[in-house]
Each structure stands twice: as structure tokens, then as C-alpha cells.
């Protein structure tokens, strides 16, 4: 930050301009211009350095996924001699990446739909209807956002086990939904409150039931909010690691994140690092690609909650 301060004492010919009383004098634009240029170079420098620090590890991973094991260890930063696509096919089939992908798609697909349907139902009722206990239920949901999940996971393991849901896809879906509800309800309650009530009242006067009003009028009106919270939940559930690590210990049912960690352990014994890197990149690229395409919506979805 030093560079931005240095110009301050310099302008002898325009000393007045720096004081509080001074209207912009003759030297003022020049001072600003110099300060602007120095700052500009400085800030670009800093920003480029951080951009490199963010991108380099990702580039390194992509490069490594195309190399053979010998060159991974010999020269970590060299370009691959030839593109070893066999790493990728080995990871996809032998290392079960295809299974992990399928499991993740099933779990996240089911939980995302469930979270949005159940979350918007609860949020709509809490936002639009007065009844005894409304506030209590609302805060019960909100409280879930700040409690450490791990505390609940110890008994939850046995709850899930007793219900016969341990190591099942549908059991994992139900748990994902339950733990996604606090933020979803919080976000959508605020959203439903901003929607005009006149439309719903008109529909009701026309003889539509509450349920029909909700599904045919309110839900379509809430689409922007549903998209934001949907993206938030999609990324959270796709990237979830703690819940499946505790509740999904059967290797055949592993989701991507735990599958990769499992792979890192087992490939460690086999020494197949290139296969592991191929798996890592395979898991990374679809999310990054989706982010680049839907960049604006993703940023909106993820920052929406914090700006409220």
C-alpha cells in the first residue's frame, strides 16, 4: 500500500489542493493521474499474482493427469511427453470413477428435488400464514445453520442404522434433504415474503385451493429464488464430504468425494498416481465447466444468502 501514499507530500505547486479547503487546483489532476497510474500497476500486479496462485494448482493437476508415473515423480512441472489418455480410461473403469459418478448423480438428483419441494412448501407456509408456533418452527429451522453437524452425526449414525437406511442411496438422500432445509427455508421464506399477495388472493377468490394456488401460482413466481437456492444446494450436495463419510461406508455406494479419497489411499499402495490424478481432474472439470457457463447464476446463488 506504500506506493499509494508516496505522492501525497510531493505536489509543492498545488499544496492547496491537498488541504480540505482547496478546490481542485491546476496540479490536482496530475497528482491524481500519477497516483492512479502507480496504483493501477500495483493493483494489477497483486491481482495477477493471486490469479496465478489460484490457477496454477489446477493446471498442474490437469497436466499431471496426462503423464505417466515416472515423469510425475521425476519432474512434476514438465509437460507430458505424450498425452496418456489411458490414465483417464483406467480411472473411469478400473478405479470405479463411473460408479462414483452415477451414485453422486442419483444422490444429488434426488436430494435436490426433495430439498426444493419440501423447502419451498415449508417456507411458503411460514412466510404467508399466521398460526401459533410459526415463529418457533421458523427459528427451529434457522438454528440448524449454526450448529456443528458433527455433534448430531454420532447419534444420527445409529438412527439411520436402526431404520435400515445405512449405506443406501435413499437413506443418504433423506439425510441430505434434512441438512439442506435450514438454509433453504431461511432463504425461501425471505423470498416468498417479497412476492405480492394480491395474485394469490385473486386465485383464491376464483376458487383455487391453497395447494393449487401454491403449485400453480406461487411456485412459478418464485422461480428466481428457487434457481438461486437450487444452485447453492446443488454445489453443497455435490461437494458434500462429511455426511457420506459417516453414513455411507459401503464402497459400492460411495459418492465422488469419498470415492476419490478412497482411491488416494488404495492407489497409494498400488502406486497408480496418474490414475488418481485423472480421477481428480475428472471430478473437477464438469463443475468448473458448469460454473464458467452459468457463471452469473452460480455467483448469485452462492452469495445471495450472505447478502441478505
Amino acid at each position: 500500500m506504500k506506493t499509494t501514499e508516496t505522492p501525497a507530500p510531493v505536489p509543492a505547486e498545488s499544496g492547496a489542493a491537498v488541504t480540505k479547503a482547496g478546490a481542485p487546483g491546476g496540479g490536482e489532476p496530475a497528482r491524481h493521474k500519477r497516483e492512479g497510474t502507480v496504483l493501477n500497476v500495483f493493483s494489477h500486479g497483486i491481482l495477477v499474482i493471486w490469479a496465478i496462485m489460484v490457477v496454477m494448482p489446477l493446471v498442474w493437476a490437469v497436466m499431471t493427469s496426462f503423464k505417466d508415473d515416472a515423469s510425475i515423480f521425476g519432474s512434476p512441472w514438465s509437460l507430458p511427453d505424450t498425452l496418456h489418455f489411458d490414465n483417464w480410461s483406467r480411472a473411469w473403469t478400473q478405479a470405479h470413477m463411473s460408479d462414483y459418478f452415477l451414485n453422486t448423480v442419483l444422490v444429488v438428483g434426488g436430494s435436490l428435488v426433495g430439498t426444493l419441494v419440501l423447502g419451498s412448501m415449508a417456507a411458503y407456509v411460514l412466510a404467508r400464514f399466521d398460526f401459533p408456533g410459526n415463529r418457533f418452527i421458523y427459528y427451529l429451522f434457522i438454528g440448524g445453520m449454526s450448529f456443528p453437524v458433527m455433534l448430531a452425526l454420532v447419534p444420527l449414525f445409529y438412527v439411520v442404522n436402526n431404520m435400515g437406511l445405512l449405506n443406501t442411496i435413499h437413506g443418504l438422500i433423506l439425510v441430505y434433504i434434512a441438512y439442506s432445509l435450514p438454509f433453504t427455508v431461511f432463504f425461501l421464506t425471505a423470498f416468498f415474503r417479497t412476492l405480492p399477495s394480491s395474485v394469490a388472493e385473486a386465485a383464491f377468490v376464483d376458487g383455487a385451493s391453497h395447494t393449487r394456488t401454491f403449485f400453480q401460482i406461487m411456485l412459478p413466481m418464485a422461480k428466481p429464488g428457487l434457481i438461486s437456492v437450487g444452485i447453492f444446494n446443488f454445489l453443497g450436495q455435490w461437494n458434500q464430504y462429511m455426511l457420506p463419510t459417516v453414513l455411507n461406508t459401503d464402497e459400492d455406494k460411495h459418492v465422488l468425494t469419498q470415492g476419490l479419497v478412497q482411491l488416494a489411499v488404495s492407489q497409494g499402495y498400488k502406486g497408480d498416481w496418474s490414475g488418481l490424478f485423472a480421477g481428480l481432474v475428472m471430478a473437477m472439470l464438469p463443475v468448473l465447466a458448469a460454473y464458467i457457463v452459468f457463471q452469473r447464476q452460480v455467483v448469485q446463488g452462492l452469495t445471495a444468502g450472505a447478502l441478505k
Binding site: 512434476p76 407456509v125 453437524v149 452460480v298
Partner: protein, 308 residues
Amino acid sequence: MQHGKYRFIVGFLTVPLGLYALFVIWPFIQSIYYSFTDWTGLSPDFAMVGFDNYERMLDDDIFWKSLQHSLLFALLLPVVTIGLALFLAFMINVGGRRRRGGPVISGVRGSAFYKIVYFFPQVLSIAIVALLFAFAYNPDSGAINSVLRAVGLDGVQPLWLGDPDLALWAVMAVLVWSTVGFFVVLFSAGMASIPADLYEAALLDGANRVTTFFRVTLPLLWDTVQSGWVYMGILALGAESFAVVQIMTTGPGGPDYSTTVMVLYVYQKAFRDGQAAYATTIGVALLVVTLAFAAVVMKLGRRERLEY
């Protein structure tokens, strides 16, 4: 709107609330209860033991180490991450070269590009990020040490995750790397909504950019900074620190307990050592720390809301 109102409310709330109560609320209550028993988790039998678990916890050196590390995570990570993010966001939004006739303060060229790139780690799973850096930290073939060798620092080849004095910092750096981008984007959105007149007035009054930042930008962003602080602290105490420590460190939690954190210790006691009751006791301590942290930040950070 009264017709069938309560039937509708009950119909819409039962499923979400039931799911939430069963998988979130009930386990939380249970785990507080279990912390007063000698339940192993392996057999259904247990007896009440009063405060025995809590006494044991106070004598447990590893618990104190994990508490110390968790507190360090909760206090230091938000400071570093949010500080760095504010700095980068300020550079993006204010570091621009002044164009003739343009506003006094403008964003750098390519600000959209920086924001897109900085956000990359946010869409990746923390598990994938942790795995990637576990390899980057590898002392022999990792990306980091080979960069050091390439620039002639052959003598500086730290063991990173293998060095008890360095491991914790290496792990924390990964969390900073993966979360800064989110806050840069969040704060940028906040900064962009601050009216340009305020900056112009400050500059006319002779304030330099550093003063402008502390006197204009930061106070107007305070609400966002504060909620970001709580959010980051809760992550650093919970899911994120679990993933990085469990995946990256030897043991996990090592070497020599130098990286163990409370959330990992709960997991290990419950699912590795078969001491479910003691695990919930540590979990209750984690709950207390989390709530205390949120309360302190909210209280210290409270100031009058500035309207603009």
C-alpha cells in the same frame, strides 16, 4: 383465506418438519443426553455416569490440543481470509486507471475476469481441494517443493505436512486458498453498490485511497463483513476443517497431534475408538465454542447500521 387453512398448513409442514426433526433435531438432543452416559456405540446397553465424561475431557491432553487448534482456526482464518479478500476486492474496484471524463474511482480493466478466476476454488469440493494439495505438498514430487528447487532454493525443502511445526499452517493455507475468492466476489458486489459520490467527496476532501478504504468502504460494508466472519468461523470449526485435516494430514490429525481439531476428534472417538458417549461430550464442547464464537462476533461487531 380462512377456508381449510389449518389443514393446509399441517399438510405442508408435516413432511419437511418431520424429516428435519428426525434427522437433525432429535440426534442433537440425543447427543447431549448421551454425553452423560458410558455408551460405546457398539452395544445398545449403557448407564448414566453423570459428569464423568466431562471430567475425563478436562484431563485429556489431546482434547486440549484439538480445542487450541480449533480456536486458532476460528480466530485466525476469518482474519486472514477476510483481510486478504477485502484487499483484493478493493484493488479490483478502486485500482482502475482514471479515464478522462470518467468517474474519479473506477475498477481495474478485466475486473470481471479476476472475479471469475478467483471464484474457481469455491465451486470445487473441499475434499478434492484437500487431495490436490496433499500431493502438492509432497516433499519429493510435489508441485510446491519442485517450484522451490526450480528457483534455486534447493536448501529450502520443507516436509510441510510431515513437519509438526508446519503442518497446521500448511492446512490452514489451503482453507484460505479455497475461500478467499468467495469473499472477494461478495465484497466486490457490496463495494459496487456504494455510490460513487461518497468516494468523490472523500477524495475532494483530500483523503488518499487508504483513508478512503478505512473511512468510507469498510464502514459501509460492515454488515457483510460481519456475517461473512460468522459464516467463515462456523466453517472453520466444522465441516471444512474436518475435510482438510482428515484428508491431508497423517494419522489423521498428526504428526504428533499437531493438526487435530475438535470436529475430527469427535469423529475418531465415535467411529474409530468406539467411545460414542465421550465423542458426544467433545461435540457438546464444540457446540459451546461455536455458539460462543458467533455471539462474540455479533456483539463486538455491533454498530449502528449505516444507510446509504
